[in-house]
């Protein structure tokens, strides 16, 4: 009910809290949009006045330069748009490899730091304290200059069974060449993965209902690895290998893993793993010891206790800071340009920018890529975090 006294002494509009909160938000929004527009308009005007070409037309022009490593078909007759893709894929490749390896190594380190074995725990501690306290760029240079560049010249390569070669220009491995019939093996492989997923679900359900366990892990291994392998040999091994061989100046054929990729991957992995190790240790220690004791009291052995009780609870603590480490790793991959790994920054913000001179467009595109990449990782990890979060029953 409105009180007649109060409606009469109506407050001034600038003292009205609803009006004020809306007004301030509108003012803030106008200021932000206005300054962005000002910056944009000013940039365009200035560049036009100075006779600098603008726009994204350059993406369709022929690039005319070569790139050391490309996951898609590329040579100098392709366009600048293609160089963008090549750089992007190279960035994604090293980020992906780095995240996988750093996670594995990080978990091992985290568990090792809590080990009851004195030597293992101390080694893990020393590793973490040294690696996370050295600048990443220094570590990249260490791997690249101090380790990989001291490898021999191609003609004196380290030779492993005449099929693997290691020298200052990279690691050369035989490249698989699928022949007719290999498609069946691949099809079986994927079918086996799907079957294993269903098998796991069925086993889980059965355990819930009857308490009987089913050896899902070993039957999964059998389905995914053994069955395709048997079929592979029954079909007469329909795959040959393209072996690298020294022809002219360099090894030709097979797959070349360039030293820049190896150095960057090693450095990113080992650096980030030190941080992940600490996060994992903190996560495990964050689960109260009573949980372990309770599990043991219920008769669970040490392995299942860790797997079923401790890790799921620790994951809730681990995932948010782990996401930050993944984001860091993805962004740190741009240090690639220091050793000449052809990542997005090196290829696109480096050579392409210099050949076209369109700094504003290229810097904006590169920033957009890193932003999108980081937000995607973040979104995925948030989704994963939700799944792992404690479900109240």
């Amino acid at each position: 009910m409105a009180d007649p006294e109060r409606t009469q002494s109506k407050t001034a509009i600038w003292n009205d809290p609803t009006f004020r909160s809306i007004a301030f938000q509108v003012i803030a929004a106008v200021l932000i949009v206005g300054s962005i527009w000002y910056l944009f308009d000013n940039t365009m005007t200035n560049m036009e006045r100075r006779g600098i070409t603008t726009g994204f037309g350059f993406l369709g022009e022929t690039s005319g330069f070569g790139i050391l490593m490309s996951l898609i078909e590329y040579d100098e007759t392709h366009t600048y748009g293609r160089t963008f893709l090549v750089g992007l894929l190279n960035t994604l490749l090293v980020s992906f490899l780095g995240i996988i390896a750093a996670t594995i190594l990080g978990f091992i380190l985290g568990v090792a730091r809590l080990s009851h074995n004195w030597l293992i725990a101390k080694i893990a501690t020393v590793y973490v304290e040294v690696l996370r306290n050295l600048p990443l760029l220094l570590q990249i240079f260490f791997w690249y200059i101090a380790v990989l560049q001291t490898l021999p010249h191609p003609r004196q390569s380290f030779n492993f069974a005449d099929s693997f070669f290691l020298n200052a220009r990279g690691f050369y491995v035989p490249g698989p060449v699928p022949e007719s019939g290999f498609g069946i093996v691949m099809l079986l492989f994927f079918a086996a993965i799907v079957a294993t997923v269903f098998l796991a679900r069925w086993a889980h359900k059965r355990q819930d209902q009857t308490g009987q366990q089913f050896p899902v892990f070993w039957s999964g291994v059998g389905l995914i690895i053994v069955v395709p392998l048997v079929v592979f040999y029954l079909l007469g091994a329909p795959m040959s290998f393209d072996y690298p061989a020294l022809r002219g100046f360099n090894f030709q054929g097979g797959i070349t893993i360039i030293p820049e990729l190896i150095a960057l991957w090693l450095a990113l992995t080992m650096y980030t793993a030190a941080f992940i190790g600490e996060i994992v240790r903190a996560g495990i220690q964050g689960v109260s010891h009573g949980q372990t004791e309770a599990a043991h009291a219920l008769g669970l052995r040490h392995g299942p206790t860790l797997r079923l009780v401790i890790i799921p609870q620790a994951m809730r603590i681990i995932i948010p800071p782990l996401t930050s480490q993944y984001l860091n790793l993805a962004k740190n991959s741009s240090l690639a340009t220091a050793i000449g790994y052809p990542d997005l920054v090196g290829v696109f913000m480096g050579t392409t920018l210099n050949q076209t001179g369109q700094a504003v467009e290229i810097v904006a595109m590169t920033m957009a890529v890193y932003l999108t990449m980081s937000l995607s990782i973040s979104a995925f990890m948030n989704w994963f975090n939700k799944r792992m979060a404690l479900v109240e029953r």
Partner: protein, 337 residues
Amino acid sequence: MKQTITVLGAVAAAMIATSASAGTLEDVQKRGSLSCGVSTGLPGFSLQDEKGNWTGLDVDTCRAVAAAVLGDANKVRFVPLTAKERFTALQSGEIDMLSRNTTWTHTRDTSLGLNFAGVNYYDGQGFLVQKALGVKSALELDGASVCIQAGTTTELNLADYFREHGMKYSAVVFDTSDQTREGFEAARCDILTSDQSQLYAIRSKLGNPDSAMVLPEVISKEPLGPVVRQGDDAWFNIVKWTLMAQINAEEMGVTSANADQMAAGTNPGVKRLLGTEGDAGAKLGLSADWALNAVKQVGNYAEMFDRNVGPNTPLAISRGLNAQWNKGGILYAPPVR
């Protein structure tokens, strides 16, 4: 990382700057020093010694402009830039002129908002190879790995040359000239490609210079010269004519040692150049002794060349194309009249 920051800074500067600064000359005079973009370290062209002094042909080109504009060749602030940073730094106004072994090309002249103010060294791209490879010609390089510096015209010429001759290569791209050399020394690549002048400079810095040789092929034209922002014609004229004054001085026999004497002499052409007759300086907005200062303090073109890259330096480059037009080269400065 550093260059990324510079590029970003320059982009930010381009976004915020209110208008193109019209008068570089006034800015330089007010500041009392010339801001000049040079390389991060290339013997003979721009290199900083252990005491922090810059030397080189490109450095002297900057100094001559400072002498002409400010009357003192030492009033220069040198800004070391990588190949990738250089144009953005100039566009954004971080430097007044760029003198960084930069090739004059159509794209750069027309689409970057820049103007090339002449040529201070006629170069061409070549190849440096390890002698142990036994290669005698660039046509034997099929399948080679090539070390190269990022953001240079050489990346494009290399691609063109190998494509033209149906050969394959893999380009290992480094950020700075030093990293490129280290990659070459560590056998990351078979050959190193760059402008020929740089190849001699890089070779002189190798641990064992005799282990490498420069192949005879020159695969491109690389006219190198100072660059200024487009749209400031007064400044463009000053940079252009300072270089021309040095070239004219050589042709007329004016050196740093005899400049005062020659200015007081009888040759009308020399007197016009050195400001004792006519108003060449005033037409540029400078004092009458602009060219006299440049020649007296920095020297004529020949002195500049001999001091930095000539036969008595570690680079030991002969004049070749860079000789005067009447001595078998293509150096030809329009007259001061």
